[in-house]
């Protein structure tokens, strides 16, 4: 072994050992766990463990609440991704305008919610969404809208949480898009302007092709993020009302750590993994097509 090799292993072996212990081994075990009936009885004594094959998956598919959780999570992603990405892009475009002053200040303040704790800000927004005393209904009242029971009504609970999530995360992609926008060719933009292209025309034919790949990547990564929503319903709605905000991860947490059905919960985790894996494959495909991977 050369001196470089020895040093390299000395430098990287500790962290690799930890990765194996807390990530590789558990991930392999998760697959094993998902085909057992691991429950509170096995937690007490391993001899109570039985192999159930795909039984957990079959059970899940006949559990209405699991389907509800899948549907809610899909709704979060389908509504949330355009909302969050759209906000990020609109704000990035606004701050990219040459006439705007004090850009660094706006950027830092707009980014600030992203670094805060989800739990703490969820508590704040639950308070803002309060039907009687919340600031949001007070503001709406001023323009003549009757009070909305944001978090108490199954029809508005997901939109309310999405408003909170968008507020919390849009700053991140705003910064990412700002970086992409700075790479838009300015001479092309100028040529388009001279040829009489309007604001929309320049956005559609100059800006969009240049930032398209970044936009797609951000969208796919946002989908993965929305599939993992947990803390927001945990703090704001406890999964309700009428289970309208129970997400896949919320369902997994309850199955695993409230009812101690760890076998069943592992099956849920595995399904979540497959969904994210599928997304990543789509993402890589898109990447190849636009030749930036």
């Amino acid at each position: 072994m050369t001196r470089q090799e020895r040093t390299a292993w000395l430098f990287s072996a500790p962290v690799l050992a930890i990765i194996v212990l807390v990530f590789i081994v558990p991930t392999a075990l998760a697959m094993a766990l998902s085909v057992t009936d691991y429950s509170i009885y096995a937690l007490a004594d391993w001899s109570n463990l039985r192999f159930v094959g795909l039984g957990n998956f079959a059970d899940l598919l006949s559990t209405p609440l699991f389907w509800r959780a899948l549907g809610n999570t899909a709704l979060f992603a389908v509504l949330g991704v355009p909302m969050a990405i759209g906000t990020s892009l609109a704000v990035a475009l606004l701050l990219n305008d040459v006439t705007v002053h004090w850009k660094p200040l706006w950027r830092v303040l707009l980014f600030a919610p992203y670094v805060t704790s989800v739990v703490a800000t969820a508590v704040v927004w639950r308070f803002l969404f309060n039907e009687r005393f919340g600031l949001i209904n007070r503001a709406l009242n001023a323009v003549g809208v009757t009070p909305i029971d944001w978090l108490g009504n199954p029809a508005t609970s997901i939109p309310a949480i999405l408003i909170f999530v968008t507020w919390k995360i849009f700053g991140y992609n705003m910064i990412v898009f700002t970086a992409a926008l700075s790479a838009v060719p300015q001479d092309l933009m100028e040529a388009a302007r001279l040829d009489g292209a309007g604001l929309w025309g320049r956005f559609r034919h100059v800006t969009l092709p240049a930032i398209g790949p970044t936009l797609l990547l951000a969208a796919v990564m946002s989908v993965a993020g929305f599939l993992q929503i947990f803390a927001e319903p945990y703090v704001m709605t406890l999964g309700g009302p009428a289970q309208s905000t129970t997400t896949v991860l919320y369902f997994m947490f309850d199955e695993g750590f409230k009812w101690w059905n760890l076998g069943q919960a592992s099956a849920v985790a595995f399904i979540l993994f497959l969904m994210i894996l599928a997304l990543t494959i789509v993402q890589t495909r898109i990447g190849r097509r636009y030749e930036w991977l």
């Binding site: 390299a8 292993w9 990765i19 807390v22 600030a112 947490f253 979540l272």
Partner: protein
């Protein structure tokens, strides 16, 4: 100013004000006398500034004759300690590893690197259930080590450091080797000083990540005395929903330390995010 400039600047101002408003309102309400936020019309400003919410939250409070402890001070200290240790250990583990993957030649390097990148596909939640059982066998459930250990598996951090280290010219390192410097000496005296901005950025990411982490501490900690701030605040929020002013004070205690840290080091944070491609 042209009309367009006025509209654009006004829009930036209004958007920023709307974004900051919830955080500002959180601070304002936390100083209202108890019960004031639950009066109509919803007050925008305290009738008098009061520290009573912080006093009751951080020190003690009487409910029906009995003293009640929210355990926020222990949670604050737990969060500080856990985030600090996670950051220091995380840096010690991942910065040398990232350098090794960028600059040291050893057999299996490329393959290991591919495995690390591939493993980013697996969401952390998949590992959480078996990890809980492993930690239970190892006696790590309900301990600080149990909270900290999973965060140290910094695959992303290794790749982040590697990417930054690749920009250091090989000639510099080779020249030091020819001059007879040992590998450890090269890393400490030559590479580390060049990586300082990246290390600061990474430290900030790690500290914020640990401070804000919620699902894993919630799973692994059962003892209230070990709770981190987000876990403690979530527990209070699920039980004492009515006390608006008190909850806002709890949210301020949880968000302000990291917000101030971010504002102080925002230059490192945002350039780290951008990879240095945008200035001003």
């Amino acid at each position: 100013m042209s009309p367009r400039a006025i509209v654009a600047n006004a829009a930036a101002l209004v958007l920023t004000a709307l974004t900051v408003a919830p955080l500002a309102y959180m601070v304002v309400v936390s100083f209202m006398p108890r019960g004031e936020s639950s009066t109509l019309p919803t007050p925008l400003w305290p009738s008098r500034w009061s520290w009573e919410n912080y006093y009751e939250l951080l020190f003690r409070r009487q409910i029906e004759g009995a003293w009640w402890d929210y355990r926020i001070v222990p949670a604050l200290l737990n969060s500080l300690g856990i985030a600090a240790i996670s950051t220091i250990l995380g840096l010690l583990l991942t910065v040398p590893a990232g350098y090794a993957y960028a600059k040291l030649r050893f057999r299996g390097r490329e393959r290991l690197l591919q495995w690390l990148i591939a493993s980013l596909v697996v969401p952390g939640q998949v590992a959480m259930l078996p990890l809980f059982l492993i930690f239970k066998e190892l006696g790590l459930v309900n301990s600080y080590a149990g909270v900290i250990l999973p965060g140290l598996a910094g695959i992303f951090a290794i790749l982040f450091v590697r990417q930054a280290t690749l920009a250091i010219p090989d000639e510099m390192i080779d020249a030091a080797r020819i001059d007879g410097a040992g590998e450890a000496r090269i890393f400490v005296s030559i590479v580390l000083p060049l990586l300082t901005p990246i290390v600061v950025t990474l430290a900030l990411f790690m500290f914020l990540g640990s401070w804000n982490d919620f699902l894993w501490p919630l799973i692994v900690l059962a003892d209230q005395h070990l709770y981190t701030l987000p876990v403690a605040v979530a527990a209070i929020a699920r039980e004492h929903a009515a006390d608006g002013e008190l909850m806002m004070a709890a949210a301020v205690v949880t968000t302000m330390p990291v917000l101030l840290l971010f504002l102080a080091l925002q230059r490192y944070y945002l350039t780290g995010l951008l990879g240095g491609s945008v200035k001003g």
